[in-house]
């Protein structure tokens, strides 16, 4: 197996006065996808991952309120790009755990209207599977959005520090797809995050991993604290979730160092689950096996 490709794409002016500039965001996604797949047109890249008949879930992260959640303009821009390869807008679901969290993050819910769908697992008639999916240390009921409504998914996660796991990234984002994430926070969430990702409902469906680093919370996450949050205006994109998380982790360490904060390991919360995920064969977690492309639009 060759190296895993990770694109870190920066977009100057993507976030001005806390407002998203969708033009820049769109450009970032397009260029990032093209670089990831070595092609001139983002559509060629998306066509390698999705087909028009797909039902695609975009799993976002809205736990931390408006200031540190996936901005609606970002997820909707991504969803719109998917429609450009012929995916029906009604077959795209932007989702998270609860409708309340989505609303608090600025989303307008759309469960049954036309266009791109936006709703939480706690929507009546959706909910979690009644039966458990059991895999290694994982025994969880999955969101029916992930298990039934979509056949492919994108993890669009917020890149941030996490008080227990060390890092919230694209793999941990799927904690929001199960009914009992609180049960998997022992020992820095290791090996739980990796084992959850390995379940067939996630590993087989997740096609694209994106870390949203518009604002990066590099300390005291996962909630928002302005004094340790930095505007970075970037996305980290890969088809290898482990590699994306690994690069995200290194980026957080870099920001921490700049601010004179100790490495996560010293605070006993190194995201060891990323190493575990690599050992499990889920992706790459070392720079020798990752091709990192940095680009600014």
């Amino acid at each position: 197996m060759g190296k895993s490709k990770v694109v870190m794409i920066k977009g100057k002016g993507a976030l001005i006065n806390n407002r998203i500039n969708t033009k820049v965001i769109s450009l970032m996604f397009k260029k990032g996808l093209s670089l990831l797949f070595d092609c001139n047109d983002f559509r060629d890249a998306l066509n390698q991952l999705f087909s028009p008949s797909d039902r695609i879930g975009i799993k976002i992260n809205t736990i931390a309120g408006r200031k540190l959640s996936t901005n609606p303009e970002i997820s909707l821009t991504l969803a719109n790009l998917l429609t450009r390869i012929g995916v029906r807008s009604g077959n795209i679901i932007i989702w998270d755990r609860t409708n309340d969290e989505l609303r608090r993050a600025g989303y307008r819910l759309n469960f049954s209207g036309g266009g791109i769908k936006v709703f939480g697992t706690d929507t009546r008639r959706i909910n979690y599977e009644f039966d458990l999916t059991i895999h290694k240390n994982i025994g969880s009921r999955f969101s029916r959005i992930q298990s039934r409504l979509v056949n492919k998914s994108i993890s669009l996660a917020i890149l941030k520090d996490h008080g227990i796991a060390g890092l919230t990234g694209v793999m941990k984002n799927y904690f929001g797809a199960i009914h009992n994430p609180n049960k998997y926070h022992d020992s820095n969430c290791n090996p739980y995050i990796a084992e959850l990702y390995e379940t067939y409902l996630i590993k087989n469906k997740n096609k694209l991993s994106i870390l949203d680093g518009m604002i990066v919370q590099y300390h005291r996450g996962p909630s928002y604290h302005a004094q340790w949050a930095k505007k970075c205006e970037l996305f980290i994109m890969s088809t290898d979730p482990v590699a994306a998380d690994y690069i995200g982790w290194q980026f957080i360490e870099k920001l921490r160092k700049e601010r004179g904060l100790p490495p996560l390991e010293e605070e006993k919360r190194m995201p060891y689950y990323i190493i575990t995920a690599e050992k499990m064969g889920l992706g790459k977690a070392n720079l020798n096996e990752i091709q990192l492309i940095e680009y600014e639009v």
Partner: protein, 376 residues
């Protein structure tokens, strides 16, 4: 619908047959008249510390969850909102039932009476063999909840003539504030309070709890830290400490040990535990060895052979424990209470039913030996 409904709940923990026959039909009518609520409680939790940057540290149980704003503890029933920690399940009951007290099981506590039994969703451990995982291993918003504030619990208790309230089914530690307040209110009306718990709790809250309840049944899930780590996701030591605290408090204590084939059934482990019980809490604490049935995350093991339960019982008796029972094997002789002095049957049971009671004022009617317990 992924939520567990009342009907499912009654099937799950209410059981059928013997148990169902004890429920007054008017109670079911009352239960069905309650409207499910989607609102969780926002009552400030006890036993937590505020930390800088809106973080909190929960000190109710040995997990000591340290959480940022909007985060929930391991139990899923407590949430940090803007630096204040809240219980989300105060008065939000996901299970209410009238059970024989023997079902808890309490065998030395008002035999033949009923307990108004309640639970809220969530648990602070994650036993791989949990029998009620549909309500314990979930977040409160994932089940149907009903508003049942302490005063209503007391009202129902009086209406259905239940002498006792049992906090049970899930893990009462996680609805501590609700249990505590209800106990205080109930005691004033002469209603007893019993707790059915895994006792994964810190000493201070445990001590405070013993001040307001009458009896505590503790599930001792094994006698090794390894087992607790692997199969319970908790620790043994705090449970042993809690057992000692209950004993010291003078409140009635019974211990249940669910015997799981190959995992915690070795004679050595049972002997070690029996010796510890004798040494730390004495020979008069009843010990129940219960039969395991494959459930939740352990479905690859068979139900416990009756011979294994009998072996465990014999070991405990050999070590000198006076009241050793076999649970979940209806009709077994180990369900009955025997006088340690004259060996006659003092209380004859079949499943949760009392067939004969040979106690007279707390003493064996044959030889006059006092039998410890709360009998009236």
């Amino acid at each position: 619908m992924g939520k567990i409904s009342r009907r499912d709940f009654l099937k799950t923990v209410g059981g059928a047959g013997l148990v169902a026959s004890t429920i007054p039909s008017s109670f079911l009518i009352d239960l069905y008249a309650l409207t499910p609520t989607r609102k969780l409680s926002q009552v400030e939790a006890w036993f937590y510390k505020k930390l800088p940057d809106k973080e909190i540290k929960c000190e109710l149980c040995p997990r000591y969850c340290q959480l940022g704003d909007r985060e929930r503890g391991y139990c899923g029933a407590r949430e940090n909102r803007n630096g204040i920690y809240y219980t989300l399940v105060y008065g939000k009951v996901c299970a209410a039932h009238i059970d024989p007290i023997e079902k808890k099981p309490f065998f030395h506590f008002l035999p033949g009476t009923t307990a108004f039994s309640i639970a809220t969703a969530g648990c602070n451990v994650n036993c791989k063999f949990c029998q009620n995982w549909q309500i314990s291993q979930v977040r409160p918003e994932q089940v149907e909840n009903f508003d049942l504030p302490p005063r209503d619990v007391v009202r129902y208790c009086l209406k259905y003539r239940c002498p006792t309230i049992a906090y049970t089914y899930t893990e009462p530690v996680i609805f501590y504030e609700y249990m505590y307040d209800t106990s205080v209110k109930a005691s004033k009306k002469g209603i007893r309070n019993v707790v059915v718990t895994g006792a994964h709790i810190n000493p201070e809250p445990m001590k405070k709890l013993t001040e307001v309840v009458d009896a505590i049944k503790i599930d001792l899930k094994a006698f090794s830290e390894e087992f607790y780590k692997e199969y319970v996701r908790g620790e043994l030591k705090p449970v042993l400490d809690a057992i000692k605290i209950v004993k010291e408090s003078g409140k009635w204590l019974e211990i249940v040990y669910l015997v799981i084939p190959t995992l915690n059934d070795s004679p050595e482990e049972i002997r070690k535990m029996s010796k510890w019980i004798i040494k730390e809490v004495g020979p008069d604490v009843p010990v129940h060895f219960s039969r395991f049935h494959p459930m939740y995350l352990i479905k690859n093991l068979p139900p416990t052979p009756v011979s294994t339960l009998e072996r465990a019982r014999n070991i405990a008796l050999e070590e000198g424990i006076n009241y050793v029972y076999i649970g979940n094997v209806p009709g077994h002789k180990g369900e009955s209470t025997y006088c340690p002095s004259c060996k006659n049957v003092v209380i004859k049971r079949f499943a949760y039913q009392i067939l004969k009671n040979n106690l007279r004022k707390g003493k064996c009617k044959f030889c006059g030996q006092p039998i410890p317990g709360i009998w009236s």
